[in-house]
């Protein structure tokens, strides 16, 4: 369908009047300029919101970990330490960005750019709500996977460029881990696409309903397992929690960004946190019904949009909480266990799920388990939606 | 009954499948092979019975027929050959007779051939033969008949030569094959002539009987001439030559007596009941052609001469089977005589009755021969002079043989009398009506009847009556017990030699009204296809081969027995009157024949040897079968054909070989020498020498190119690509 946030706003009167005003003022047809401005504005808002959420995420991580370990988190800076992350940000800017002697200067600076660009690129397709999606591309999920593979490359180059053994090892392991866990993520994503019948995120979400029983995760047993595979893969892909081997403090100092300092390190961290948000957001979109609000409340109106936004954010932050929760509960995996888990367990399960969903769809003409059990009689005509 | 292919085809195909299967398994599973062929013929019998019941008892209408056709091959408008089946009353009766006799003969031959070393092989050919005969009876066109005709010829050849160890058997089989072949050649010529005329008349060539009748009715055959002779006569004559060849009529009868070399069941089936009958059946089918070609008198004379001649030769025969062979020839002569004089119905009846009692005669002769075993020569005895008084030894066979002899001699109450008397009656009628030329056949017919009665009873008295001449042989033959495969077939056949089956009245000729069978079924069903009656063939519908019967099922008007067969009142009276005279005459002749034989051989009043030396010249002629064999072998073949061969050979060798082939040789030599010289000078010196130099040169260049440098190869590729850009 390829609508975007601009198309959503274009429907309003004031937008048209604004365009007319600008065209008289500038003389030439200001429509494209208007579109650009709107996109720029929307993108700016999204990036800032993401940066804030990332910052809050660091704060939340510290707070939750403290809470889990029965201690107080940061509460000095601002009320309950809420603006702790701003302080960190300023600190980073102040810090000196050292480039190691034998490092490859060009790649050293390029690595964080690649990471951040990759992550921000993936924000275009994250579906905050039916209207507020930056641009609902036809190739939504597929584009997201492509762009997020840039991050893997960025991390590896970071590790390679800083020319130190720790960074090198960290970079290698990170790259290996990211690219190998991308496969289970992609294949379990495939089973959702199988159900929804389209790649763009709005089709994926429209195919699910507000109520939990409409979500893909409960659609059939295969997608149920698929969700967990997706989630584990997502964790590994963002080097989080049990899989944070690359920047494992105890072993590799801080992995691929050992040599990084100052703003370059800040952007690596920022990219990582945003990517966690993106991954959990996509998990929500694919499996947990995205921005669908129960009882069909979400509609076209502004209020409907905000309700959908609320639904999306609540689900994503819930997942975020689980991610952070994992970090302080699960021990770190050994490297070969990490790899065996991926190739010998997750990938076969993911492929089995894909084939299973296929057979389920073929067998039950796309009806979810719930429909089969409860509405087999009445809604037989409806078919899977 | 609804006729699909399935209800008719099995009759022909079952024996054929039996043949196909047995051909492979006969060596190892002889018993099963025999079982299969007996079962097969039994199957055909059942199907024939079904058809017979539907035709004779069900429809009982003269113009009730089944005609299914399929296109065998279609080479465009000029040559489209349709094969198919055509069944009418004639075929139904014929089918029943053939399959019935064949089945009984199969059963008998399980007894007769049991100790034969090639027991299985015999049955293989018997099955093939029966399927061919049934195929011929059922087929709807002359070409189909011709094909089955040839297969039968082959089977008779191989069955006659069954005991191929014996030299004469081999010679006899070849002789049989060759003589029938002569007849078949003319038959084929006849078919071609008929095909051509039908094509000229109806635009599409065909030899189907229906089409022939239609063209006849339309007058397509009239006023066509072939080298001056009317075409229809030539065609009819040619086809009749086939009958002469196959049914061993006057000029080509030499092969049948020698065919007795084969095993007796084979002669029973082939040379008594079916194959020879096929010739007569063919003439019956093309009767309108004969009538159109006004050949009837010629046919009558052929029949009469054969009947009389064979009867005379049979007088002097000492071998049991020889007597029967000549009697077959004479009876066939009677049938052809019947056709000639226009007694169509009687001829066909005689064919059926003769098949029954002649088969029974041959089988009983076989059982006699089989039990007379000479210990010295370890061979079966066939000469009557060594037999005598066997009736006490073989009562059942004696009973069967006696009934059949009575039938063949034309004694009332028996089938022979019914059919032969009618033929003689009609012959007499035609003689009285049309005068002059037809007196010959009538007189010869009556004299032959007398001779038949005499030599048949001579045979009976010599074999069964009187005291045994070869005592030692007599003691050896053990008394006959009632065995299922020896006597039962005989008794069944004897049952059917009784007259009342075929005629309305008990004695035949309505002398006594038989309460059960009110109407004369044979007389009414078989209708003589005169030219006038062929009209109904014009609009005859034929159906597609695989179509289920879509004929209108409204029952046809049942043809009832009209005593004077549609003749005017006083004409019918005249005919009956003449028939009465004929009947009385033939009864007198029959009994006088029997009496004479009795006097000669039993009472000893008349001494046969007196007659022999009284007419010694004739006796020797009869012994040598009127020197026909010698005439043919010495005269026709030695003097005629061989000379012609030598002439052709001389031409071939002398002129053709010398010039065409040898001349060519010289040219070859010349060319060879020339190329030799060219080869040495030009090629060897220039080509061979120069070649390697060039190759060496190229080698150097190429070696440098293959330097292994990948990028160099790549540059070469790019250069080629660039040059390609130039070309666009």
């Amino acid at each position: 369908m390829n609508e975007t946030i601009v198309t959503y706003f274009a429907k309003f009167e004031w937008y048209k009047s604004l365009v007319k005003a600008l065209t008289e003022m500038l003389g030439f047809n200001a429509e494209p300029l208007m579109v650009f401005l709107f996109f720029f504005l929307a993108a700016f808002i999204v990036v800032n919101v993401m940066a804030v959420t990332a910052g809050l995420a660091t704060y939340a991580e510290r707070k939750i970990s403290a809470d889990l370990q029965l201690r107080m988190g940061p509460n000095r800076v601002g009320p309950y330490g809420l603006i702790q992350f701003l302080a960190d940000g300023v600190k980073f800017i102040m810090k000196e960005g050292i480039i190691p002697k034998s490092a490859d200067k060009f790649l050293f600076t390029l690595a964080p750019i690649l990471c951040l660009a990759g992550v921000l690129g993936s924000l275009t397709v994250v579906p905050y709500s039916s209207g507020f999606i930056l641009s609902d591309l036809d190739i939504g999920l597929f584009f997201l996977i492509g762009i997020s593979s840039l991050v893997g490359l960025g991390i590896f180059l970071g590790g390679y460029a800083s020319n130190s053994k720790w960074a090198m090892l960290g970079g290698m392991r990170a790259a290996a881990q990211i690219i190998s866990y991308e496969i289970p993520v992609v294949i379990s994503g495939l089973s959702c696409v199988l159900l929804a019948g389209g790649l763009s995120f709005t089709t994926l979400i429209e195919a699910q309903t507000g109520f939990p029983q409409g979500w893909f995760v409960f659609h059939n047993p295969f997608t149920f397992i698929g969700f967990f595979v997706f989630f584990i893969g997502g964790l590994a892909e963002t080097n989080r929690a049990p899989f944070d081997l690359p920047e494992a403090e105890s072993e590799l100092v801080s992995g691929y960004h050992t040599e990084y300092s100052g703003m370059r390190f800040a952007f690596f961290a920022l990219a990582e946190y945003i990517e966690v948000f993106v991954v959990s957001g996509v998990a929500v979109a694919l499996f947990l019904g995205g921005y669908n609000v129960p009882f069909g409340l979400g509609g076209d109106g502004i209020l409907g949009q905000f309700l959908q936004l609320g639904a999306f954010f609540s689900k994503t932050l819930a997942l975020y909480y689980v991610v952070i929760w994992f970090r302080w509960t699960l021990p770190r995996l050994r490297v070969d266990h990490l790899m065996t888990l991926c190739w010998k367990y997750l990938t076969p399960i993911a492929i089995f799920n894909l084939i299973g969903t296929g057979f389920w769809l073929y067998g039950f003409e796309g009806k979810s388990l719930f429909e089969l059990l409860f509405k087999s009689g009445a809604a037989a005509a409806g078919g899977g939606h | 009954m609804d006729y699909t292919v399935g209800s008719v085809a099995p009759i022909v195909l079952l024996p054929f499948f039996a043949f196909a299967i047995n051909a492979f398994i006969v060596k190892r599973f002889t018993k099963t092979a025999v079982g299969i062929s007996c079962l097969a013929i039994f199957g055909s019998l059942l199907y024939s019975l079904a058809i017979f019941k539907d035709f004779v008892f069900g429809q009982y209408a003269t113009n009730y027929y089944i005609h299914k056709v399929f296109t065998w091959f279609d080479l465009g408008p000029s040559f489209k050959l349709n094969m198919g089946i055509y069944i009418d009353n004639l075929t139904a009766v014929m089918l029943l007779m053939v399959s019935g006799c064949a089945f009984l003969i199969h059963i008998f031959s399980t007894y007769y051939m049991a100790d034969d070393i090639r027991f299985g092989r015999f049955f293989v050919y018997m099955s093939l033969f029966t399927s061919a005969m049934l195929g011929l009876v059922v087929s709807d066109n002359l070409l189909g008949m011709f094909i089955f005709w040839e297969i039968m010829g082959f089977c008779s050849y191989s069955l006659i030569g069954h005991y191929y160890e014996k030299e004469e058997a081999g010679a006899a089989s070849i002789k049989a094959f060759m003589t029938t072949r002569v007849g078949d050649v003319f038959f084929l010529l006849g078919i071609v002539m008929v095909w051509h005329t039908v094509a000229r008349a109806t635009g599409e060539g065909s030899v189907a009987l229906v089409d022939i009748y239609k063209v006849l009715a339309m007058g397509g055959f009239d006023n066509l001439t072939l080298w001056g002779f009317p075409l229809v006569t030539c065609a009819a004559l040619a086809i009749f030559m086939g009958t002469i060849g196959k049914s061993a009529q006057f000029p080509l009868q030499v092969w049948l007596p020698d065919a007795m070399m084969g095993p007796t069941p084979c002669s029973a089936l082939i040379h008594a009941a079916t194959m020879v009958a096929a010739g007569v059946f063919l003439s019956l089918r093309i009767y309108p052609l004969l009538e159109a070609g006004n050949l009837t008198t010629f046919v009558a004379y052929i029949g009469a001469i054969t009947a009389f001649g064979a009867a005379t030769i049979a007088l002097v025969q000492t071998d049991l089977k020889a007597v029967l062979a000549y009697s077959t020839i004479s009876q066939l002569g009677y049938m052809v005589l019947g056709i000639g004089v226009g007694a169509y119905n009687a001829a066909f009846m005689h064919l059926i009755t003769h098949a029954v009692f002649k088969a029974c005669l041959f089988l009983s002769a076989g059982s006699v021969i089989h039990s007379l075993h000479d210990h010295h020569t370890h061979a079966h005895v066939q000469e009557m002079p060594r037999m005598g008084g066997l009736r006490k030894k073989m009562p059942l066979t004696f009973l069967a043989m006696m009934c059949c002899t009575l039938a063949i001699s034309g004694i009332p109450f028996f089938s022979g009398f019914v059919s032969k008397d009618r033929i003689l009656g009609d012959a007499l009628l035609r003689a009285l009506d049309d005068g002059g030329a037809l007196w010959g056949p009538a007189v010869l017919g009556f004299v032959a009847a007398f001779l038949t009665a005499f030599y048949m009873f001579r045979m009976m008295f010599l074999t069964f009556f009187g005291n045994p001449k070869d005592q030692e042989l007599y003691d050896h033959t053990h008394v006959e017990k009632l065995s299922w495969n020896r006597n039962v077939p005989l008794l069944v056949l004897t049952l059917f030699t009784l007259g009342f089956w075929y005629s309305g009245s008990f004695t035949g000729q309505k002398l006594v009204k038989f309460p059960v069978i009110k109407k004369e079924w044979f007389q009414t069903l078989i209708e003589k296809p005169e030219k006038s009656k062929l009209g109904r063939f014009k609009d005859l519908k034929r159906q597609e081969w695989s179509s289920v019967d879509n004929r209108d099922k409204t029952p046809l008007p049942k043809s009832s027995y009209d005593p004077n067969h549609g003749l005017s009142e006083e004409r019918a009276h005249h005919v009956h009157h003449v028939h009465h005279i004929g009947a009385i005459l033939s009864i007198i002749i029959a009994f006088s024949g029997v009496g004479l034989a009795y006097l000669m051989y039993v009472a000893g009043k008349l001494n046969p040897s007196w007659w022999v030396n009284k007419l010694s010249g004739w006796y020797k002629a009869l012994q040598n079968k009127y020197y026909f064999d010698d005439f043919y072998i010495k005269g026709v073949i030695q003097k005629g054909l061989l000379k012609l061969n030598n002439l052709l050979a001389a031409f071939d060798m002398g002129i053709f070989d010398r010039f065409a082939i040898d001349g060519w040789k010289t040219i070859n030599e010349w060319a060879f020498r020339l190329s030799g010289k060219f080869d040495d000078e030009v090629i060897d010196k220039a080509g061979v020498g120069g070649g390697p130099l060039v190759v060496k040169g190229f080698n150097v260049i190429l070696r440098t190119l293959q330097s292994g440098k990948v990028q160099f190869y790549f540059i070469v590729i790019i250069v080629v690509l660039v040059s390609y850009i130039f070309s666009i």
């Binding site: 198309t7 990036v47 641009s135 720790w166 690219i179 190998s180 100052g262 952007f267 790899m339 894909l354 | -």
Partner: protein, 139 residues
């Protein structure tokens, strides 16, 4: 209407631009604000205080390449699978789902065969761990 067909891709460009500008801007600002006293010691690669020995790039090991190899094969497979899978629902509705399913299953099985081969041959094992109870991994 407001949007041309290609305008849909605006956000990608804008966000990527944001990414680049943010990093470059931040570096410029930090270069201005933060102290820039690169000393020899500070610029040394960090090696828990020890002075760095040797070159960092010699440690690479073959198994990373095998992982990359298997990744790219599956990557391509998923690239091919995406359109087929996204079309399956529509095909299923018009009744030809079975055909597509068979195609997908064949496609996957051929690849699974490859993975099974690698698995059996021991390519997937990350490290020849010595405790592996079964027979020593022969070649």
């Amino acid at each position: 209407m407001a949007l041309e067909k290609l305008d849909v891709y605006w956000p990608i460009l804008i966000l990527m631009a944001f990414g680049v500008l943010a990093v470059v801007g931040a570096l410029v600002v930090s270069k201005i604000i933060s102290p820039q006293k690169p000393t020899e010691l500070k610029r040394q690669a960090y090696e828990c205080g020890e002075d760095p020995v040797g070159d960092a790039w010699a440690l690479f090991n073959m198994r990373f390449y095998v992982i990359g190899l298997i990744f790219i094969i599956f990557d391509v497979e998923s690239a091919l699978m995406f359109p087929v899978v996204s079309v399956f629902k529509k095909m299923n509705e018009i009744g030809r789902g079975g055909l597509v399913l068979v195609e997908i299953v064949i496609f996957l099985f051929v690849l699974i065969a490859g993975v099974a081969y690698c698995w059996r041959k021991g390519d997937l094992d990350w490290v020849r761990s010595f405790q592996t109870p079964d027979k020593e991994k022969e070649s």
